[in-house]
């Protein structure tokens, strides 16, 4: 089971800030494909991966990264702090 979190416009398109996902996905990209196959709102949120960033257990990562041992995945647009 994975905790999946969404921030900013990704959260708005998906319609919730977090959910628990039962998945066997090997990588982040596999997880994205699984989610996109579920419902159009995921398709809308994940349409352009170049516009998205991903963090695994609160560390910035990338879409090729394996999910083994990961508990928390977060998807969000490029950050705009400062």
């Amino acid at each position: 089971m994975l905790d999946v979190m969404y921030f900013a416009w990704v959260r708005e398109r998906i319609g919730e800030p977090r959910e628990t996902v039962a998945t066997e996905a090997a990588t982040v990209a596999d997880l994205v494909e699984e989610l996109k196959a579920r419902e159009p709102r995921y398709e809308a949120a994940f349409a352009d991966l170049s516009a998205l960033r991903v963090a695994l257990d609160q560390e910035l990562s990338d879409f090729d990264a394996p999910l083994a041992g990961v508990r928390e995945v977060a998807f969000f647009p490029p950050m705009t702090g400062g």
Binding site: M5, F7, A8, W9, A55, Q58, E59, L60, A74, F76, P77, P78, M79, T80, G81, G82
Partner: protein, 146 residues
């Protein structure tokens, strides 16, 4: 010990700068930077969202790098989230060092990294509705100078 605060409440620039600079005898320079919400054409307010947990970790990692690289005596980062109106202070950075060049450079480094590596997102509410602020290429490019 560097201090990191992520908060929704306003902060006093004067009080923070005074407390940060106070009681130092081996520090020759304190630099402070303050970010202010700028009205970009009739903006009423801005909402800042963040990723609790990752925010503190990411800032702490950036501060640790600055402390090491410029052998700082101390550092402070305050970053707000929630609803902010134009003119309000979003964030501040302070660095303390023996010499001013290190204090200035470390403050710039912290600002460059906070802009694109700390998980905050800004949404502006203006006359034409609400819009997420897009990250700028130049903010990402700014990291390459470090």
């Amino acid at each position: 010990m560097p201090m990191i605060r992520v908060q929704s409440e306003p902060f006093s620039l004067g009080d923070e700068a005074e407390a940060f600079a106070k009681g130092r005898t081996d520090t020759g320079a304190v630099v402070t930077f303050t970010g202010i919400v700028r009205d970009t054409g009739g903006m009423a307010r801005m909402e800042i969202e963040h990723y609790p947990g990752m925010t503190e970790k990411a800032i702490s990692g950036i501060v640790d790098q600055a402390m090491d690289r410029w052998s700082l005596d101390d550092a402070l980062v305050i970053h707000r989230y929630g609803s902010l109106a134009p003119g309000e202070r979003i964030m501040m950075v302070a660095t303390a060092s023996r010499h001013r060049v290190a204090a200035f450079e470390a403050a710039e480094f912290l600002m460059d990294y906070l802009k694109s590596r700390a998980p905050f997102w800004k949404k502006e509410f203006g006359p034409d509705g609400a819009e997420w602020v897009a990250a700028k290429d130049e903010d990402e490019d700014a990291l390459s100078r470090w």
